[in-house]
Symmetry: C2
Subunit: 187 residues, 2 copies
């Protein structure tokens, strides 16, 4: 597994209540960590975990788990956010394989005593753009604006992970009691 | 998670080259451990891991992982066997959730440095009964005969786990070079 961090803004700043979003996959898992300062979400770090394609399923899951555990040990994460499962998938076998990766991410979060919050894809899009069917480029621009980035986040796995993390932030902002309960929970 | 062992035959006997079969599930995961003595497969232990239904997905995955890790630490397992994924499932959402459990089992095996062998359901049935579409009761009788049990294995999760373990044994018996390579691999 190779971890490719795309950004690490000011790592010396005081970081509290970090939100970690994931876009799970067996080949590539995107992750994005945000914090909130003065009611403003900021990018802390984002990147991908890349599993070696010539490895067995079990070996790739171990690579993924090791990578995620390292991230969870490196940042004071307060909440983990991930996309909700759909009822229907175009490619069920791919979806089941994604389920293996998602299971390992949930396990790593549980082992770190963190709650996993899941959001439907349409809710994530609606929260960020007002449109539950927003196309990819509109989502990327919304993430860029929210996090005040120079460029839209790339690759898509990172954009999706950041979108989920932002969705969790906006949800807790709308429902502060959720924020009180959930964001103060520490590993 | 509660571990309910149904059988533990002669735990003091020398055990080598144990095969551990799983029937993964988020509510109940069946497991079955067999050994081979004088070309004869024998039951070592079988049971279920039962996850608490009122727990979150992540918590249940942690319970499952803890239970499987305990089993892997308690027996000198040489190989892990599990059902192959299909291409089509009647209930995709259930299958994706099963994928979460399957991913955690594969991870636990990889962490124990064990290879995971997977077999198609039709192959498992054909290996045990000669019929790739054998009904449940025929499979239970075949497992009972092969392992010389007084009663057919029950619940179904245990029967399926033992069937997978037996399928791996018969496969390595047909292909001794596979047995040499795989069964001698130790955790």
């Amino acid at each position: 597994m190779s971890s490719e961090s795309s950004t690490n803004l000011n790592p010396t700043a005081k970081t509290t209540g970090l939100i970690l979003g994931f876009d799970p996959g067996l080949s590539i898992t995107g992750y994005g960590i945000i914090r909130v300062r003065n009611q403003q979400p900021e990018l802390v770090e984002a990147g991908i975990l890349k599993m070696r394609r010539d490895r067995t399923l079990a070996e790739r899951l171990k690579e993924l788990h090791d990578g995620v555990t390292e991230i969870l040990g490196s940042f004071p994460i307060a909440a983990v956010a991930i996309e909700q499962l759909y009822s229907h998938y175009e490619r069920p076998r791919t979806a089941i394989l994604m389920g293996h990766a998602r299971g390992v991410l949930c396990l790593a979060a549980a082992n770190a005593n963190l709650e996993v919050h899941s959001y439907e894809a349409t809710k994530v899009k609606r929260m960020l753009t007002g449109n539950g069917r927003a196309p990819k480029d509109q989502m990327q621009q919304a993430i860029r604006l929210q996090l005040r980035l120079k460029e839209p986040p790339d690759p898509p796995d990172v954009a999706d992970a950041l979108a989920i993390a932002l969705c969790h932030y906006f949800t807790t902002k709308q429902h502060p009691q959720l924020s009180d309960q959930k964001l103060r929970k520490k590993p």
